[in-house]
């Protein structure tokens, strides 16, 4: 017991010592992301906004989607894509973090988990900043009074799916970071996988539009994706707070939330174990 305690103590001390570095790295990632671009940090707002416009155009004009089943479709899209974008950018950046910091890892001792952690946190900060776009778009539709979104006090529940996604991103990021040190192939595979994930998550469609029967294998596969529930809950908290007015939105499926939370915790545990087991070998491979 005392040994365990001592180990925990040294880890906490070590983390305290390097918390400044964590802050510097997060700040660095955010600052450097848009350095040398004319619009700078505005891209954090502009990028999701433009993406929303493109996707709205494609799916509304070309595929004939409208807001009758989803509530305001552009807002519906934006909610889903913001959370999806946070997850993919956090995990992709965490995945390559060890390789990108190779020159540093080879020369200076720093607890290595700091690198994937800082990437996930900076993606998180970028995500939080980009949430203002969502507020602006909702306000825009409200002012124009065309299909406005009724945001209620239940919007505070967004915290739950956001935090679970953060934990999930960290876990998946740690696993990918470890594996990609030894096998660079993972980076290519993951690119394809995230595209698959985009269509497997309810971003451009509503699950009910798919006409899968309850309990069918297709629906089970979809629900196995933790983002399925997370995006649903995230969006429900923002758009479907007044369930009385929107009868199609029985969205608070707590089972999906428990599943996502369990999934996230499991990936973090696996991720850290895998990372710790292998971190001393990193330097020999990068």
């Amino acid at each position: 017991m005392t040994r365990l305690k001592r180990a925990a103590r040294t880890h906490i001390d070590n983390f305290k010592k390097y918390r400044f570095l964590l802050r510097e790295l997060v700040g660095k990632n955010i600052k450097l992301q848009y350095r040398n671009s004319v619009l700078g940090v505005f891209w954090t707002f502009l990028q999701p906004l433009l993406m929303m416009i493109v996707l709205s155009f494609v799916f509304m004009q070309v595929f004939g989607k409208d807001s009758s089943q989803t509530g305001n479709y552009p807002v519906y899209l934006l909610c889903g894509r913001l959370l999806y974008q946070f997850f993919t950018s956090a995990t992709k950046r965490a995945m390559t973090s060890i390789r990108r910091q190779a020159s540093m890892i080879k020369k200076v001792y720093v607890p290595k988990y700091i690198y994937p952690l800082s990437e996930v946190l900076s993606a998180f900060v970028t995500f939080l900043i980009s949430l203002t776009v969502l507020a602006v778009v909702i306000a825009y539709f409200d002012i124009r009074n065309s299909d406005p979104v009724h945001v209620t006090w239940r919007v505070v529940f967004v915290v739950v799916p956001i935090l679970i996604t953060l934990v999930l991103s960290l876990g998946v990021g740690m696993i990918l970071a470890t594996v990609s040190v030894f096998f660079k192939d993972v980076e290519n595979i993951y690119d394809v996988f995230t595209t698959l994930l985009f269509y497997m998550s309810p971003i451009v469609y509503r699950p009910s539009m798919l006409n899968f029967e309850e309990g069918s294998i297709q629906l089970r596969v979809l629900k196995a994706n933790p983002l399925y529930g997370l995006i649903g809950e995230f969006r429900a908290a923002i758009m479907y707070g007044d369930e009385v007015l929107r009868p199609w939105s029985q969205s608070w499926d707590m089972n999906l939330m428990y599943y996502a939370a369990g999934f996230a915790v499991a990936t973090v545990i696996i991720g850290f174990l895998l990372f710790y087991r292998n971190q001393d070998k990193f330097i020999l491979y990068i």
């Binding site: 010592k17 400044f20 790295l25 660095k28 020369k107 200076v108 001792y109 096998f183 192939d185 330097i283």
Partner: protein
């Protein structure tokens, strides 16, 4: 607080050198199935034990490939030894390669904070040292330019200034005294001697017995990964000169 700043206890370091680099999963599995994963073992360090008292200045000598850099990297914590342990006390400023922790898109100013953070220093702490670091590095207005526009000399000067300004407890020097031009070299040497007088523990890697004798009171010799001498610098330097002659 112990008496020793660095304790190396039966440190061995093994590298597996695979003849053809296998870094794709496909190749790895094919080779695993064919049982074709050949590694050549290479022991860069073999059972090295020594202690460095606080305030000691220890010279590390040995021919190329003797394991000096590997030893320093295990002490700096960059490499974990295959066997044995290395225990260190206090803040280590590893100057294995000056400016290793720099980000090239960052300005000199931003890099000062980043670099210091890798040694565990807060922004506030460095703020106080900031003027001193910039003055010493002689970078002047370049401090706000991105590091990628610096010459290697400028980069090294900045790295040296940061590493020595924060008053580390252990300083690892890998022949970095040849930084910058003659004037800067003189200045940096003076600063190192000040630091050494302040009771900083120093590990100094050099091929020059003269330098080790003047700067260090203790010295060790590594040969093919083994520790073959450990003692007062004058004795060890004499031995090293013999080795060089015989070679």
């Amino acid at each position: 607080m112990g008496k020793y700043a660095i304790e190396a206890d039966h440190v061995s370091m093994r590298f597996n050198i695979n003849k053809e680099g296998v870094d794709s999963a496909k190749e790895y599995f094919i080779r695993m199935v064919k049982r074709d994963l050949h590694y050549t073992e290479f022991w860069a360090l073999k059972d090295v034990s020594f202690k460095v008292r606080k305030g000691d200045h220890m010279g590390v000598m040995g021919f190329n490939g003797a394991g000096k850099s590997t030893l320093l990297k295990t002490i700096a914590g960059v490499l974990k030894p295959t066997m044995g342990t290395v225990t260190t006390e206090g803040v280590i400023a590893p100057m294995l390669e000056l400016g290793a922790g720099f980000n090239h898109n960052y300005s000199g100013r931003e890099n000062i904070f980043l670099y210091a953070a890798t040694m565990g220093f807060s922004r506030k702490f460095i703020q106080e040292k900031y003027e001193e670091i910039v003055d010493f590095s002689e970078l002047g207005d370049f401090i706000d330019a991105p590091i990628k526009s610096y010459s290697s000399g400028m980069r090294a000067r900045l790295g040296f200034s940061i590493a020595t300004s924060v008053k580390p407890e252990v300083l690892i020097l890998d022949e970095v005294l040849s930084v910058g031009d003659a004037a800067f070299r003189e200045k940096s040497e003076k600063r190192l001697q000040n630091l050494m007088g302040d009771g900083v523990t120093v590990l100094y890697v050099s091929h020059s017995t003269d330098r080790v004798e003047t700067l260090c009171n203790k010295a060790i010799i590594l040969s093919h990964g083994q520790l073959i001498a450990n003692g007062d610098s004058s004795d060890v330097c004499a031995m090293y000169r013999e080795m060089v002659k015989k070679r």
